[in-house]
């Protein structure tokens, strides 16, 4: 089997793969990084969003071989080594931006990509950016609120807690 080499969360990672090995399979099964979830496996739901060379992508719809030489960031990169949550994760906790939590890794990684491109998004821009991230608990309101809060904007006027 061919070998693939990439950098994942700042560390070099390599492994034997098949041609058909998906990036998400390599992350979860070879590297044991199970924070990245597989929801639909059809590139609809966004639970598997990771960053590849700084861009949000759906890790279920990219082959591991295509990430050769790439810099990959997963949800495991977000908190500090001592477990301190980063700003976006903390905002999700503060504003109840998760219910069952299954979609949360993808939501946080999409939010991080959005805030890198657009540090002060409007509510409409946040909702638009999350088009490819589905929360089947339908907890969108507090997810959007958490992302706005993480951007440093006042969310006190947004009603539901």
């Amino acid at each position: 089997m061919p070998q693939v080499n990439m950098t994942v969360n700042g560390k070099s990672a390599s492994g034997q793969i098949e041609g058909r090995t998906l990036l998400v399979e390599f992350l979860r099964e070879t590297l044991g990084l199970t924070g990245t979830h597989v929801g639909c496996d059809t590139s609809q739901c966004g639970a598997c969003v990771v960053h590849v060379d700084g861009k949000a992508v759906k890790a279920c719809t990219m082959f591991a071989a295509e990430a050769e030489g790439a810099e990959v960031l997963t949800i495991e990169s977000m908190a500090a080594p001592d477990g301190t949550l980063n700003t976006i994760q903390q905002a999700f906790q503060d504003h109840h931006g998760l219910q069952c939590g299954f979609c949360t890794p993808g939501m946080v990684m999409s939010a991080a990509a959005l805030l890198k491109e657009n540090p002060k998004p409007t509510e409409a821009e946040v909702r638009d950016y999350l088009e490819g991230n589905i929360c089947r608990c339908t907890g969108y309101h507090n997810i959007v609120k958490a992302i706005l809060a993480a951007s440093g904007q006042d969310v006190s006027a947004i009603a539901a807690e």
């Binding site: 041609g19 496996d41 590139s43 759906k58 719809t61 990219m62 071989a65 295509e66 490819g132």
Partner: protein, 262 residues
């Protein structure tokens, strides 16, 4: 997925060589092909990934003023970098979702020629030229029916050249579940006439609405196509909309595109 080998060449020449293998298949951004492979609807022996070919990525303006987009350029890069052709940048920025736009490519979309894809309408509506690994193909000769193009086995779309119109707009009526175009209309006004290309609607894939083109070339205003209609009999009919409904939407979205053109 069935098993296959995957190669990732770094030049167009190496990709063409790799595609010479029997049962080899080119892989663009994979946003359609990977789901297709998962469904076991395709069984290539070898995939040739085009994402490592830097000479196929990027946007520039040619000496003749045409906007040139590398076949491996992703939708997000077109949305951000095709400011010289705002309607095209806007179209690219509304395909799929942000993560899909970071992978999916213009060349991949055109080679697949999904009847509901956005890009074919821009290419046909602009009278663009599709540059491949061995020739140039005019848009009017490229699209050959649903999921069918003039591309031959092993031929790669390396670039697309768009003449920039005076005004243009793409208006998409989204199918609310998939967000693909139930009907999308690309209207572009050039000094020598108006082109109108329709996606999502026809069983024959993207097509030009020539009656509307003639009317709009005489008078570029939404009311110029009042009374014109397309025949619903050749339109896609499914649970999302009947053929007649799609035919009706073609005229509505054409008027909206004319009104929005800038």
């Amino acid at each position: 997925m069935y098993a296959f080998d995957i190669e990732r060449p770094t030049t167009i020449g190496d990709a063409v060589s790799a595609l010479g293998h029997e049962e080899a298949q080119a892989l663009g951004g994979g946003q359609t092909l990977i789901p297709t492979l998962k469904q076991r609807l395709a069984a290539p022996a070898k995939l040739v990934s085009l994402t490592g070919i830097s000479e196929m990525k990027g946007i520039c303006t040619a000496d003749d003023g045409k906007l040139c987009i590398g076949g491996g350029t992703c939708h997000a890069d077109v949305a951000a970098g095709a400011g010289a052709y705002p309607a095209l940048a806007d179209l690219a920025g509304h395909i799929g979702d942000p993560a899909v736009r970071n992978r999916g490519t213009i060349g991949g979309s055109l080679a697949n020629n999904d009847p509901s894809a956005c890009y074919p309408s821009a290419v046909l509506g602009s009278g663009a030229t599709v540059i491949t690994s061995n020739r140039e193909i005019a848009a009017d000769d490229f699209f050959d029916g649903m999921f069918t193009t003039a591309l031959e086995d092993g031929e790669i779309i390396t670039e697309v050249r768009f003449p920039v119109p005076e005004k243009a707009s793409y208006q998409k009526f989204e199918q609310p579940a998939s967000r693909f175009a139930l009907v999308g209309v690309f209207v572009a006004k050039y000094p020598d006439g108006v082109r109108v290309a329709v996606t999502g609607a026809s069983e024959g894939g993207v097509f030009r609405w020539s009656e509307a083109e003639a009317a709009l070339s005489a008078n570029f205003a939404p009311e110029a196509i009042e009374g014109l209609s397309v025949d619903g009999s050749g339109m896609i009919s499914d649970l999302h909309g009947s053929g007649d409904y799609r035919a009706h939407l073609v005229a509505v979205m054409t008027r909206r595109a004319v009104a929005a053109a800038h």
